[in-house]
Amino acid sequence: MLQLALSAAPTALSLAPRVACADSPQYGGTLIMALDTDPPTVNPNITTGVPDVSVGSLVYEALTRIDESFQPVPSLAESWTVSPDNLIYTFKLIKTNWHDGTPFTSKDVKFTLENVSAKYGAKFRAAASHIKQITTPDDATVVIELGSPFGPMLFSLSSYANAAILPAHVFDGTDVLTNPATLSKPIGTGPFMMKEWVRGQTITLERNPHYWRKGLPYLDQIVFRMIPDTSARVLALKAGEIDYIYFYYFSAEQYSQIAGDPKIQVRERGTPEDHLIIWNTRRAPFDQVKVRQALFTAIDREYIKKAVFQNLGSVMQGAIDSRIAWANDPTINLGQMYPYDPQKATAMLDEAGLKPGADGKRLKINLVYDSADTSNERQAQVLHSMWQKIGVDVAFAGLTRNMMLPRAFTDWDFDATLQAYSTAGDPALGVSRLYITSAIRKAPFVNASGYSNPAVDQLFDKAASAALQAERAAAYKQVEKILATDLPVFPVWQTALLNVASTRVQGKWAWSTGYDYWDEVWMKKDDD
């Protein structure tokens, strides 16, 4: 089995024996991507649904885009300056037109960020809460004034973060959620335009002939095919009927089906995501740190990586994903702090007063998880076998998503829950929501554990508002130390984000978040 070597920062890896070489770009051709279902909308600002943003981010663009080291770089904003107090961001915009010929101006930026992204964009909310006002001194300049500094401000102005710029002349005065441009007829500035949508089958986008990046895009068309079944997508790729599967639509278990296939290449890249075990710290005895530490000591995460995740990806050794290298402290290593030791775990539980009953059981854990992710079922079984060794029993509650969400996030009716949280590219956007007190809400994918630690709250707040990355990093490293002791959430596995494509696909495919840079992708013509 091929192993994936990961460095801290995301890098390009081609795992097929025949590596696809970087020839010079060729014009023309159609790239076919897979989705599981029709997107409800094609507006990337009002949802975080993958189909919506996948399609929308080809038609629309944002002020910044995210490069391969996950740094924001110029897009619709060709340059910017930031005031010394990190409160005033001044953007110079490029000159281009919307797909319908109307000029793109600063008015569109102000309209979008205030009326769409701030109101409906889940990932833009954190940035929106810091914005004091947006002004447009002229058509090519936008000034965003913050009330308090916000570290990931530039990152939040990308398509990924619900901040793609929409045309004011199309949306102003209408209901954004039901506007035809949201539902099916988008008008953007991006490299591709909507050509045809056959519901249930395909969405076809064609090249924007007036695209402002000269000479781009290389592709004539990008087509999305709706293939609901995970295995069917892989089979379609192997049969050459589609060219690319985004990591979201490809599971680690299928890796063996494509490993060694000379016509398929893999690029491991994407917004880092992590598999976690979240504890309900409202319930005894899971409110005791010693008990959580004991339970952590009784699980072998290296084994879980092998048995559940095909030995792909990597074990998570701190609260912050190591792929966000600037924020992660490599000296904090949970595997070294709590080496796998069932006997020690037993002693720790004894110390905590959890002695075995007449049936040999000390404790029962009600484990809730989404049954749609098949790795959850296997992980639950592996955890069960490990915890059984120390006299801890597990009650499996594998539920469909609609039933899992209220159990875990509204009713808080669980002892532990298996979840996968995206970091959203920055700890302030995707990691803090697991640990801070203000994120304890009856809503999905926030602080479900109920963990509340003022020191942690302060550090996350400091890290979010500092503008210098060095300052932010220092705060994150400190918070990682605290969380490594408290363990309200067990970091288990840094998800292997496997994007797979035909070897004919070249250039910057799956380059960072998976939503940008498709203008710089080309297809090699078939060999005769």
């Binding site: 975080t48 959620l177 079944d229 089979l235 379609a236 998503r401």
Partner: protein, 321 residues
């Protein structure tokens, strides 16, 4: 006869309405709601969720929602799909049509082959053909269709590259009809093999029963050939159970291909059905239940009428003393 048909249709309509109301209540009582699916894996703004909930009428009580649904239905309005953001009726009719493109030829072929197999098995080479039929029936009935589908894809689409792996149409094609037929082969095979098994078993059992009747012995004694006896006398008299099962198959055809459609990404009603359940898309589910119920009721009525055609001794009016 006309009164019979009208009466059947009236009660059929009553039953369909009752079914739809029961389905409506059951799906609304399921835990979870459509908003969860729309929101994604990141906490959405509360204002957005409230807005969507209100737009789709989910903030009303169940009886009110049912009331609105029935009033709209009476006006021919099947509602609006949460997930697909379009009116329900054109959506499900379109997808139903695509399912029928797959199911109708498959069912017709399966019925014809099934009956032919049964006739052959009951004929001269009884013993060999009988084993073939039993074997085919067993295999056809027992193979999990999603497994068979994947094996077919691996062999014919990936290894041999003779046929497409999924979907209904290629992105680029010079001959749309041929392209459609090529896409139809593998999914239709999966469906057909199952229904051949079903029809053949029932036809064989029914024919064997007739074969041992006295009037068949009389016909043979009169010198009519074995073949003529089979096709003209045995088959016709054995038709009733076969009509029943074939009618049933056609009636349930709209939702009979869910697994096949999923594996082959055939964009029919089955895929829409599964997706709508997962996303709690109530209007689409109600629409599908309605359409499927109507199909079953109509198929039952037609089947009953066909009995009278097949066997003139059957009358549609109450027998007089």
């Amino acid at each position: 006869m006309t009164r019979y048909i009208v009466g059947r249709m009236f009660w059929g309509l009553v039953m369909v309405l009752g079914l739809v109301m029961v389905d409506f209540v059951i799906t609304h009582l399921l835990p979870g709601d459509p908003i969860d699916a729309l929101v994604g894996n990141y906490p959405a703004p509360a204002a957005y969720i409230e807005r969507v909930r209100h737009d789709f009428g989910l903030d009303q009580s169940l009886p009110m929602q049912l009331g609105h649904f029935l009033v709209n239905l009476a006006q021919g309005n099947f509602g609006f799909s949460f997930v697909n953001r379009q009116p329900v009726l054109p959506l499900i009719l379109d997808r139903a049509g695509i399912t029928l493109i797959l199911m109708l030829p498959s069912l017709i072929l399966a019925s014809l082959i099934g009956v032919a197999l049964a006739v052959a098995a009951t004929g001269q080479t009884g013993r060999i053909m009988d084993s073939v039929l039993t074997g085919v029936s067993l295999i056809g009935h027992s193979i999990p269709v999603f497994w068979l589908a994947q094996i077919l894809i691996v062999v014919f689409a990936i290894k041999l590259q003779w046929l497409p792996a999924q979907g209904m149409r290629s992105i680029r094609t010079h001959d749309p009809l041929l392209d459609l037929l090529r896409h139809l082969v593998l999914p239709a095979f999966c469906i057909t093999i199952y229904y051949i098994a079903v029809v053949a078993r029932v036809a064989r059992a029914s024919m064997l029963e007739i074969l041992h009747q006295d009037f068949i012995l009389t016909a043979r004694a009169k010198g009519i050939s074995r073949r003529a006896v089979l096709w003209r006398h045995v088959l016709r008299n054995a038709a009733i159970p076969v009509i029943t099962v074939v009618g049933y198959n056609f009636g349930t055809s709209l939702t009979g291909a869910i697994l096949t459609e999923t594996v082959f990404a055939w964009p029919g009603l089955g895929g829409l059905f599964i997706n709508s359940i997962a996303n709690r898309d109530y209007p689409v589910l109600s629409g599908i239940f309605l359409l499927a119920s109507i199909a079953v009721v109509m198929a039952n009525i037609i089947t009953d009428l066909l009995y009278a055609v097949a066997d003139p001794r059957i009358r549609m009016t109450p027998a007089r003393a």
